[in-house]
Amino acid sequence: MTSPDDLESQLTDLAAALDLPAPPPAEVARSVRTRLEAQPEPRARRWSPRRRRPRWQVVTTLAALVVALLVGGTPQGRAAVAEILRFAGIEIRVGGASPAPVGTPPLPGQRTVSLDEARRLVTFPIAVPAGLGEPETVWVSDGRVVSLHWRGIRLDEFDGTLGVVFRKDLGPPYPEQVQGGWWIPRHHGVTYIPRTGGETVRYDRLAGPTLIHQRGRVGLRLEGVDDLGEAQRIIRSLR
């Protein structure tokens, strides 16, 4: 049945004619090396089976489940908050009124560091968009959020597997699901949930259009780029 025939050579032929863009191998090798250097193997825990399970996958699945359950249309319980979406360490509540602007207060323990210092201070790999170049300012806050700044643009990176890091409140319509994340096209309130928990300490500010993305275990929020296409280009250029 599968005797060598024309079809098999046609398939091989077809594969050679496919347009498969791939980045230059040396560039891939460098990126992988940078990531490995940023996060050396935790040798002591190598034997532990727990380590082998990539937690972010579980979280992604859970997030998808929450979205399915809540977006899937449960009419009950849509009081002040109509829908909750959890993705990559971010909880989005749609339906309530957007909170009043309160400026941009610092996050807990926020300090300015160099990019290299930031890489040493957090446990996840920090990616920098090649399209924007070296960030002008880098902050590390609460030991788990890294904020990279370029003129008018802010990229927050954090471990997206550790529960909710940011909460966003916005009015309808629902944020738009895009390749690998969500796009919130308008101004909305952001609340930072400190690592120590507790209801009382919250940091509100007013964020512009934001692209939320998950890259491996790292949650990302890109703010300050008004055009979705441009925002996605920046995210795609992360190295």
Binding site: T2, V28, R46
Partner: protein, 194 residues
């Protein structure tokens, strides 16, 4: 001890996979870079062809990171290529599953990059048309059959390699491939009718 020291100070790039793996295991990231560069294009082709789409780059990086972390579990006497591609295939599956939808095959025919199809414009056009139809037929195969066909003919892996990459018994690879080919034949024949 001496061996390790020797490895760390070796300046020449590793020549074969086994040497690169040995040096990577002793913490030589330059040796691992050589390995990544060597398999990068194939890994991207695999991820894209198995349905990673635009996210092939992320999938491949993640796969190389995982491969490095699990390098100690790699059996040195067996070939590296299918072992690595299995990680790439798993990462691709995780991605498509996390997106909660069937892995889609979105591939494009390149402009002039294919092998020469003939000299005159008419036969070139005919060949392009035939390729387009065949690609469409591959895209609508069931995911199981498509994966087998993609590994065997697009990536040109052996049956044994395909079995390892997809984590399937050899017999299953054979039957899925032949079912896939039969379906492709039907599909192509249907369109060849006047």
């Amino acid at each position: 001890m001496f061996l390790r020291w020797n490895h760390a100070f070796q300046k020449e790039p590793p020549t074969d996979d086994d040497e690169a793996i040995g040096r990577s295991l002793s913490g030589d990231l330059s040796a691992y870079e050589v390995l990544v560069a060597r398999y990068s294009t194939l890994a991207h082709r695999t991820a894209t062809m198995l349905g990673a789409g635009d996210e092939a780059e992320d999938v491949v990086q993640e796969a190389f990171i995982k491969a490095y972390r699990h390098l100690a579990s790699f059996r040195r006497e067996s070939p590296f290529r299918p072992w690595l591609l299995r990680i790439v295939a798993n990462e691709t599956h995780n991605l498509t599953r996390s997106r909660g939808r069937r892995a889609e095959l979105s591939l494009r025919l390149g402009g002039e990059s294919g092998p020469p199809a003939g000299d005159d414009p008419e036969s070139v056009a005919l060949a392009t048309d035939r390729r387009t139809r065949l690609l469409r037929a591959v895209a609508i195969l069931s995911e199981r059959e498509r994966e087998a066909v993609v590994c065997r003919y697009f990536l040109q892996l052996s049956e044994a390699e395909t079995a390892e990459v997809l984590g399937l018994p050899l017999g299953t690879v054979k039957s899925r491939t032949s079912r896939g080919l039969a379906r492709l034949r039907e599909e192509v024949a249907r369109h060849d009718l006047p």
